[in-house]
């Protein structure tokens, strides 16, 4: 099972023939991802060799879908053209578009995420590391060799914190890890992932990583109270961030009293989520909670 991405997923890569696209397509293939094609209007009809596999290049996403039955696209297209690339994928009827590109103007993100919602395409990102279902498929740039398949689901705004937690819990393994991205507007939220993990029989426990800015974590807390029965462990970054300064991610900014790490931690704890003070402590909370769950009488 896992969420959003499985070994059945047939993956296109928009921008595959660029530097980042080539590098990460190779890595995705090595991780077992079924990459069925690249998209580049100027290189349609060519094939690109990745070690033992020749991947065809299509002129459009629609052509790629028609020829291969692709249902996922990973977008490495540079910011000025990324918006149009996503809209093209949505128009072609793709089910999931994973937008890795960092630096897309917010007006473009607003336009394509709202358009995708109307058309029924799930967007992950932009400005995200993508998602991985270890042992099955990897759509994006998350290093696939950190950990293996397991029963913890992870959702995070941050790429490197995702890697850090995957590493801390490498012996436990993950069902799916989703990097939703650090921009102010993203297509898939913490809540979307919580809902999917709650319904996923392969996920036993959920790790939620947040950071300063906006109120996504507070909203996630409210959602957990109403809808999530699986144990959730949280971590929030940015307690020491000063007000009014953007901390790396475009969305990571405390505005006045809004968006603070304190408020997010308090909101999560108020609904029974255990929140770690450091990534390592967070991993320990996961281990302790898994022990409790697994020793429960019915197990």
């Amino acid at each position: 099972m896992a969420i959003f991405l499985t070994k059945e997923s047939r993956v296109l890569v928009q921008g595959m023939t660029g530097g980042e696209g080539m590098k990460h397509t190779r890595r995705m293939l090595a991780a077992g991802t079924n990459v069925v094609g690249g998209v580049n209007p100027r290189k349609a009809g060519q094939r690109v060799d990745f070690d033992d596999r020749a991947v065809p290049v299509f002129g459009t996403v629609a052509d790629g879908i028609q020829a291969t039955g692709a249902d996922v696209t990973v977008v490495f297209v540079p910011p000025p053209f990324a918006g149009a690339a996503v809209v093209e994928a949505v128009d072609a009827g793709i089910a999931l578009a994973v937008v890795i590109t960092e630096g897309i103007p917010v007006h473009d993100s607003v336009a394509f995420t709202s358009y995708a919602k109307k058309k029924g395409t799930r967007i992950v990102g932009p400005n995200c590391p993508g998602l991985i279902t270890p042992g099955q498929s990897n759509a994006g740039i998350i290093p696939a060799d950190i950990t293996r398949s397991g029963r913890v689901g992870l959702v995070s705004k941050s790429g490197t914190l995702t890697y850090q937690l995957m590493y801390e819990l490498r012996d436990i393994g993950f069902s799916t890890c989703v990097g939703i991205g650090g921009d102010p507007v993203v297509g898939t939220t913490h809540i979307d992932c919580l809902a999917a993990f709650q319904d996923d029989p392969d996920t036993e426990l959920i790790v939620l990583i947040g950071e300063i800015g906006g109120d996504a974590e507070e909203r996630a807390a409210a959602y957990i109270r109403e809808h999530v029965t699986k144990p959730v462990v949280g971590y929030i970054a940015g307690f020491t961030a000063p007000e009014g300064r953007t901390m790396g991610h475009a969305g990571a900014i405390v505005s006045g009293s809004a968006g603070t790490a304190q408020a997010k931690k308090a909101a999560l704890e108020a609904v029974g989520v255990k929140v770690g003070n450091t990534p390592t402590e967070t991993a320990r909370l996961v281990l302790a909670l898994l022990d409790t769950v697994r020793q429960a009488p019915h197990a």
Binding site: H107, S114, T240, P242, R245, M247, G248
Partner: protein
């Protein structure tokens, strides 16, 4: 990026939103000349990117050009909530009948823009919303539709604004879209006793990601106030100056934010935020170390890298080569974990720099860096 009031006013004026007559200067003598040009009596307004400048004495009425000069002299150089006043705007006084609030803001949760409007303008809108939420209208904008006259009419009606504001609402949306802004706010939007609608004060926040298609960007207000931030920006580093003594270098915004927190949890204060990203080349490492070591408050430096896509041996190689280029003056604590961590650690051990020490965990390294800073 936030704009100064006078910059926001310029964008409004360009788009045909009525504004009061005004001029900007950094010189008291010039303020006198400008006041004369504007008719004698003027409002002198400090240009700072923070609210509450009225209460801080940064907005004053001057009755004549001589008083305008004296007032400008008093306001220029003033410190308002940590912002130094470099310029004042002189504006013609306006005979106000009523004050309104209008804004378009990014609604992160909805993933779209929201119109916020109120007939109770001139005050802090968050206070109005807290005390009288019914006085603040919030209307979501469909990004595919934008703000048409009909939509603007709907916003004005919901907020109880006069029909004369509809045109302003449409043009303000055009400013938002045309400038790639994530916030445009007019507070107050006023109706004068003569019946004119005027934007008296405004705030605009631009989207830094859109710089590539907004060629006019990147002038005066881009300059950093802090010299270390300016030096880092010149090297293309993602650096924010903080007020502590542990210099921080890490890869990835989330991990660096987390590193600051973990250091703070160990009883020291971080001196900066610096995300060197995935690549972490020797040059970036050297540039980062140079900026951090030039901060006199720094007593120790903590390099925290998780090798995901980048292998730790490449990062270690970057550190080793940076050590040849930069004279290390403070102890450096390095934590390498993840991809090829063992090889990376071995490379640093081989280099055996007396000021460089390694720790295998993030928490342990943070503790060590904090101890060194507190001892130094």
């Amino acid at each position: 990026m936030d704009l100064y009031e006078h910059e926001a006013r310029g964008l409004f004026e360009e788009r045909g939103i009525p504004v009061s007559r005004a001029e900007v200067t950094d010189s008291p003598q010039e303020a006198r000349v400008m006041a004369r040009r504007l008719g004698g009596s003027v409002v002198v307004k400090a240009q700072v990117k923070t609210g509450g400048r009225g209460k801080a004495g940064g907005v004053r009425l001057a009755a004549d050009p001589a008083e305008a000069e004296r007032t400008a002299r008093r306001i220029l150089g003033m410190d308002i909530k940590g912002h130094k006043v470099g310029k004042v705007m002189l504006a013609q006084p306006v005979d106000i009948e009523s004050e309104f609030y209008v804004a378009y803001v990014l609604d992160r949760a909805a993933g779209s823009f929201l119109a916020i409007a109120s007939a109770a303008g001139g005050m802090d809108i968050e206070e109005v919303a807290a005390v009288r939420p019914e006085a603040v209208a919030r209307i979501p904008i469909d990004p595919a539709e934008g703000v048409t006259s009909a939509k603007a009419g709907e916003i004005a009606e919901a907020a109880g604004l006069p029909p004369g504001t509809v045109d302003v609402l449409v043009r303000l949306w055009e400013v938002l879209v045309g400038q790639d802004a994530v916030l445009v706010e007019v507070n107050p939007l006023v109706r004068t006793r003569q019946g004119h609608i005027l934007a008296l004060d405004g705030k605009v926040t631009l989207d830094d990601n859109a710089r590539f298609r907004q060629p006019r960007r990147g002038t005066g207000s881009m300059a950093c106030d802090d010299p270390l931030e300016a030096a880092a920006a010149a090297k293309g580093l993602n650096y924010v100056k903080l007020d502590g003594s542990v210099g921080i270098i890490g890869n990835g915004a989330g991990l660096v934010m987390s590193t600051l927190d973990v250091v703070a949890g160990c009883g020291a204060r971080p001196a900066n935020f610096l995300d060197i990203g995935g690549g972490a080349s020797a040059q970036v490492m050297a540039d980062g170390l140079t900026v951090i070591l030039s901060d006199p408050a720094v007593k120790s430096v903590f390099v925290n890298v998780f090798g995901g896509i980048t292998a730790c041996d490449a990062v270690a190689d970057g550190i080793v080569r940076a050590l040849d280029e930069v004279r290390l003056t403070k102890p450096l604590v390095v934590r390498l974990d993840g991809n090829n961590a063992a090889r990376g650690r071995a490379l640093l051990d081989e280099r055996a720099h007396p000021l460089v020490q390694q720790a295998t965990t993030m928490d342990g390294a943070a503790r060590r860096a904090a101890e060194l800073a507190n001892a130094g």
